[in-house]
């Protein structure tokens, strides 16, 4: 059952007040927050102030909005007026936004108590959350393992019972991969379905905000709340339709594509669990269709060229003048800018800025950036012609493996390879959903990914719901271990 609905029912029935519910989560954060390292900042006053408004509405007999009164948290790259927004970077350690992201405006209007801002990889660059300047978030299923990245704190908080749901951002898999590692549902909406206004930019043509939750219904509830057209984001179109009314549509007659390329090199128990998940959907009336996506092998290099190029441009705004870390002494303006950036950015961010600068530099632009742009178009056309012309959605593993050990030294390229199944959806702007589908031999969660057509987010969530219902929620491992409320 929906955690959000179940908690809200408790409020409506008077089993507990919104203030008591919020305080219970704050107590859980006080108890387990340090262990999981899921939060960069907590905002107890703000959360309790919002909860008090909900209690007043309940006393007055007013109807609650779908998310009202249920405590949540935001990834720390979503701007919150008056609340520190660090992007897990020394560069923005003391940055306090003067405006709210559109998603936060929409949620505030529903009186959602915000418990705090979640840990992440610095500027959303990473797959383990270990690139955070405060250290990585832990995986509640096994504290010796990473929560994933870059939205690792958002995943750890929900899986560890430190928030009912959270928002993350996804540029190459940063919602879906930690959702998979932590046994949660994670949705990357269609590019343009959710406003990016107030999301600190990493790679603007790929970034998208979305929910991490304990079940598909909660992801749908949050998606409906945040997917609106926004004049302040020129790429925003809003959702084609709300997801909740279609949640029970099922998968009868839906064609689900399976492409072998996504399974190559995956951990055997991941292949087994995802294949079993496909069979479960087939048993619900879906038709499994073999498709082929040979250009998948180019998706990661294309992604890293484009993402790093955009990052090098987007992060050029951090000059130590208008906001962010700034050195006290410098010889001249250029010296001050270079020193501020060198002190403020961490190693992975610098690495990606340098790669982005390289592929955009004279002499290399055509061979790398321009070629990647053309390949991006080729990938999109191949997906349209060879995949989505034959099926309604694509089923893949979310990640080829389960959660990595903390501190497991992978080379930068080795880390990038963990994104092989997720980046295509970002490159093509498609919606993609990760749902838990099993556990590996060590009991770690495995995620199954469904990728849909543009603006078919509702259909995707309906398929995810059908899978979750058919599996009787048996893979929702977060429920086993900490979501006490």
């Amino acid at each position: 059952m929906s955690k959000i609905r179940s908690l809200q029912q408790k409020l409506i029935r008077g089993d507990l007040s919104a203030t008591e519910l919020t305080q219970a989560y704050l107590d859980a954060i006080a108890r387990d927050g340090q262990t999981l390292n899921a939060y960069i900042s907590t905002t107890p006053e703000l959360a309790l102030e919002t909860a008090a408004k909900v209690d007043a509405k309940l006393r007055a007999g007013e109807t609650l909005a779908p998310l009202e009164g249920v405590p949540m948290a935001l990834k720390d790259n979503i701007c919150t007026q008056g609340v520190r927004t660090t992007c897990a970077s020394r560069m923005l350690d003391n940055y306090v936004p003067i405006y709210n992201a559109t998603v936060w405006e929409l949620l505030r209007a529903q009186n959602t108590p915000m418990l705090g801002k979640c840990n992440m990889d610095e500027f959303a660059m990473g797959s383990t959350c270990e690139n955070s300047y405060i250290g990585g978030a832990k995986n509640p299923h096994d504290l010796s393992r990473v929560a994933g990245g870059s939205s690792g704190g958002s995943a750890s908080a929900v899986a560890g019972g430190l928030a009912a749901w959270t928002l993350g951002s996804d540029t190459g898999g940063s919602i879906r991969q930690p959702a998979s590692f932590c046994g949660l549902v994670g949705l990357k909406p269609t590019y343009g379905a959710v406003s990016r206004y107030g999301l600190v930019a990493f790679a603007s043509s790929l970034d998208q905000i979305g929910p991490l939750a304990t079940c598909v219904e909660d992801a749908a509830l949050v998606f409906d709340a945040i997917s609106q057209r926004d004049a302040r984001d020129m790429t925003s179109r809003g959702a084609r339709e709300p997801a909740l009314p279609r949640l029970h549509d099922g998968v009868q007659g839906k064609r689900i594509g399976i492409a072998d390329e996504f399974f190559d090199g995956a951990q055997p128990d991941v292949v087994q669990a995802v294949t079993a998940g496909a069979k479960l959907l087939e048993a619900q009336g879906a038709e499994l269709v073999k498709v082929s996506f040979p250009r998948l092998k180019y998706a990661l290099p294309v992604y890293y060229i484009l993402a790093c190029a955009e990052a090098s441009s987007n992060l050029s705004r951090y000059d130590g003048i208008r906001y962010g870390t700034s050195v006290d002494t410098a010889n001249d303006l250029d010296d001050m800018i270079c020193r501020s950036r060198s002190e403020g950015f961490g190693a992975e961010v610098k690495r990606r800025i340098l790669l982005g600068t390289f592929v955009l530099s004279s002499g290399y632009f055509d061979a790398y950036y321009h070629k990647a742009r053309l390949l991006k178009e080729s990938l999109i056309r191949e997906l349209e012609r060879d995949v989505f012309a034959h099926c309604d959605m694509l089923l893949t593993p979310t990640v080829p493996m389960t959660a990595l050990k903390s501190g497991q030294a992978l080379s930068p390229v080795g880390t990038y390879l963990t994104d092989i199944c997720t980046v295509s959806a970002n490159i093509a702007g498609l919606p993609a959903l990760s749902v838990p589908c099993g556990k590996d031999v060590e009991g770690l969660p495995i995620g199954l990914q469904l990728i849909g057509k543009h603006f078919e987010d509702a259909q995707l969530l309906a398929a995810g719901y059908a899978f979750e219902t058919a599996s009787a929620g048996s893979f929702l491992t977060s429920l086993e271990m900490g979501c006490r409320l």
Binding site: Y323, A330, R339, L354, K376, R381
Partner: protein
């Protein structure tokens, strides 16, 4: 293989400083990521991909709207004077 001069040029364009002692390790890392990215060189591009794609932006009329408050914007500034950002290290 990056020469030291090429590496320093990229570092300069990126507005970063890197200690000379760190250059060899950085060169190795960058070479490995550039080699990874370089897989695109051998990839065949579909002829149709060279045609301009649909614009990402949903175009709409420009509307004049109030800007953010100048005093608030300056609150995050390293240094501000007479309503302006103060730029430059100034040899302090």
């Amino acid at each position: 293989m990056f020469t030291e001069a090429e590496l320093k040029k990229i570092i300069g364009l990126a507005k970063l400083y890197v200690d000379d002692a760190e250059l060899p390790e950085l060169a190795r890392e960058l070479e490995s990521t550039v080699a990874f990215a370089g897989q695109v060189a051998g990839a065949e591009v579909e002829p149709a991909a060279k045609e301009p794609g649909a614009p990402l932006s949903a175009l709409r009329d420009d509307v004049i709207a109030p800007s953010l408050d100048r005093a608030l914007i300056l609150e995050n500034a390293r240094k501000a004077e007479n309503g302006f950002f103060v730029a430059g290290g100034g040899g302090k």
